[in-house]
């Protein structure tokens, strides 16, 4: 078996969660790598949409920003940003929204706004962008983030976008009818919400990862499903396609890409 990094495992596990029929709202960074890997492997007809207005885009290299020319040049069509948010997102056309963040809690609520208080922040982060409405309008949400005690916190400093709220029926109690976060794919594991409490529980550990490694990198008491599987290791094809994509991206942007 070829060796692989935890980040590669994360991207590949996230890509596998997507199907050929999905219409996917893609964020920059790790989600973008996963969505394009899916398109270049098992889901050639997946529709990738970026919030800059590009529909059905097929970039040859990963975009550095959400509005790169590459996205427009390879798209089926490009619409205005108000149209994107009104007809395509709010209109209910998107099956999967792919989000990440600076902080996540056990219910998949996300923070990309501030570290510290809103009024006197320690770190002023970029803000929500499309996330508050992506989180409620897409039929389901996948989240991909690397595990760390700084990022996986007991309590968010700010709730930028709604996951399962306080758990249980809280999301529905906010008048939200979409499923919300159904999968959290990290560099160590795959997490899915408990049917009742909606708390993320580990359902699959990546190869070589222990329960302790997972528990030590989250700021809450990690829960595990009754049966925890092992994520299949990346195949040769998945690794080759992902590495080629990153190599093309690096050559095109002079080393500016992440994830």
């Amino acid at each position: 078996m070829t060796s692989f990094t935890p980040t590669e495992m994360m991207t590949i596990a996230a890509a596998r969660a997507l199907t050929n029929d999905d219409v996917c709202f893609v964020g920059i960074g790790a989600p973008s790598a996963a969505c394009n890997l899916a398109r270049l492997t098992h889901a050639p007809d997946i529709t990738l949409i970026y919030e800059s207005g590009t529909i059905g885009t097929a970039p040859n290299v990963l975009p550095l920003s959400i509005g790169d020319g590459e996205l427009c040049e390879t798209a089926l069509c490009t619409v205005s940003v108000p149209e994107m948010f009104r007809y395509w997102l709010q209109g209910g056309r998107i099956t999967i929204g792919f989000l990440g963040g600076a902080q996540i809690d056990r219910f998949g609520n996300l923070n990309t706004t501030v570290v510290g208080s809103y009024e006197k922040p320690k770190v002023r982060l970029p803000g929500g962008g499309g996330a508050p409405e992506i989180a409620i309008s897409c039929r389901e949400i996948f989240i991909t983030m690397k595990q760390s005690n700084r990022g996986f916190v007991e309590k968010l400093d700010f709730v930028t976008s709604l996951g399962h709220g306080k758990g249980g029926t809280d999301r529905a109690d906010h008048g939200v009818t979409t499923k919300g976060p159904t999968r959290l794919i990290t560099d160590l594991a795959i997490w899915q919400p408990d049917a009742e409490t909606k708390e993320f529980t580990v359902t699959s550990l990546h190869p070589g990862v222990t329960r302790e490694m997972v528990a030590d990198t989250v700021g809450w008491k990690a829960r595990f499903a009754a049966e925890v599987g092992e994520t299949p290791a990346p195949t040769q094809e998945e690794l080759e396609v992902l590495r080629d994509l990153h190599a093309r991206t690096k050559a095109a942007h002079g080393g500016g890409s992440d994830a």
């Binding site: 920059i28 959400i66 205005s80 002023r124 970029p126 803000g127 929500g128 930028t160 976008s161 999301r171």
Partner: protein, 287 residues
């Protein structure tokens, strides 16, 4: 009818201290040259509006032109955070600024409401999002037909919208293509509009009857500034100068470096430097 004039005159006639100004663009077609002219002319107390404030907002804020920022995502695309914005918000340098923060959907809807002549925008949004706690301009209304609770935000009606586009004709009709973002709505929502363009041509050569065109009578000033979006890009003309965005992170990380760079590249420069900046990037054959 749009006046075709110099960048100096367009800014001097249309942008005044205390105005609300939207310099729009979504990674693509960012009006860098026009923002630099505003800085050179020393405008103060501006309320600046933008869905995705990036480098030019860092520059306007760091040079003390800004009283208030209305936005939905503030970052250096593909690089990281905006260091001058952070310094203003976290440390009050060069002076504290007011923040009115929204989501993209709210801003896009608010521009559309402004262009539509409506007082507010209504959409399904912000449910469970904490911005509702800190921004009193996010409210909720009940649909009179279904009872569904919907988000409402005030329409955006900037005093001035500033954008960059591929080209205009000699009457001042403007054509944009590629990622058109929210520019059409932002221009139609504004009281006055300045458009900088790569070229002014005899025939707009519209690629389709459905092309994104702003008729001359919706625009106040048209200014030819080749390269005026650099280091942003212009679809079909020049690519994004990614290295300049990465470099900006270093420049903006230190107050003195920032001020030195601004003096050399903005205060002591003029709009004609932009053509030289894109010369090595120009697309000759196919895009």
């Amino acid at each position: 009818m749009a006046k075709i004039q110099s960048l100096h005159d367009a800014v001097a006639e249309n942008i005044h201290d205390g105005d609300s100004v939207a310099f729009e663009g979504f990674t693509h077609l960012i009006p860098h040259a026009a923002a630099h002219e505003v800085i050179r002319q020393g405008r103060k107390d501006l309320t600046v509006i933008r869905m995705t404030p990036d480098m030019i907002y860092d520059q306007l804020i760091g040079m003390g032109c800004v009283k208030k920022l209305i936005f939905s995502f503030a970052g250096n695309p593909g690089v990281g955070l905006l260091r001058r914005l952070r310094d203003a918000v976290e440390n009050g340098w060069p002076h504290p600024i007011e923040i009115e923060e929204h989501s993209h959907a709210a801003m896009a809807n608010a521009y559309e409401a402004g262009a539509s002549g409506l007082p507010c925008a209504i959409f399904r949004g912000y449910r469970g999002a904490e911005l509702t706690r800190v921004n009193p301009n996010i409210r909720f209304v009940k649909c009179p037909f279904t009872g569904e609770e919907l988000a409402a935000v005030p329409a955006l009606r900037p005093d001035v919208t500033v954008i960059h586009a591929q080209r205009a004709d000699r009457k001042g009709n403007v054509l944009l293509e590629g990622i058109v973002g929210v520019q059409k709505e932002a221009v139609l929502a504004a009281r006055r509009a300045i458009v900088t363009v790569e070229e002014i041509v005899d025939d707009l050569a519209s690629p389709s009857p459905n092309a994104c065109i702003l008729p001359s009578w919706t625009v106040t000033s048209v200014v030819k500034v080749p390269g005026g979006a650099h280091p942003s890009y212009v679809q079909g003309v020049y690519p994004r100068d990614n290295a300049a965005y990465i470099e900006w992170d270093k420049i903006a990380s230190d107050r003195d470096n920032f001020l030195t760079w601004m003096t050399q590249n903005v205060t002591n420069a003029g709009p004609d430097v932009f053509a030289g900046r894109v010369a090595p990037l120009l697309k000759t054959g196919d895009a």
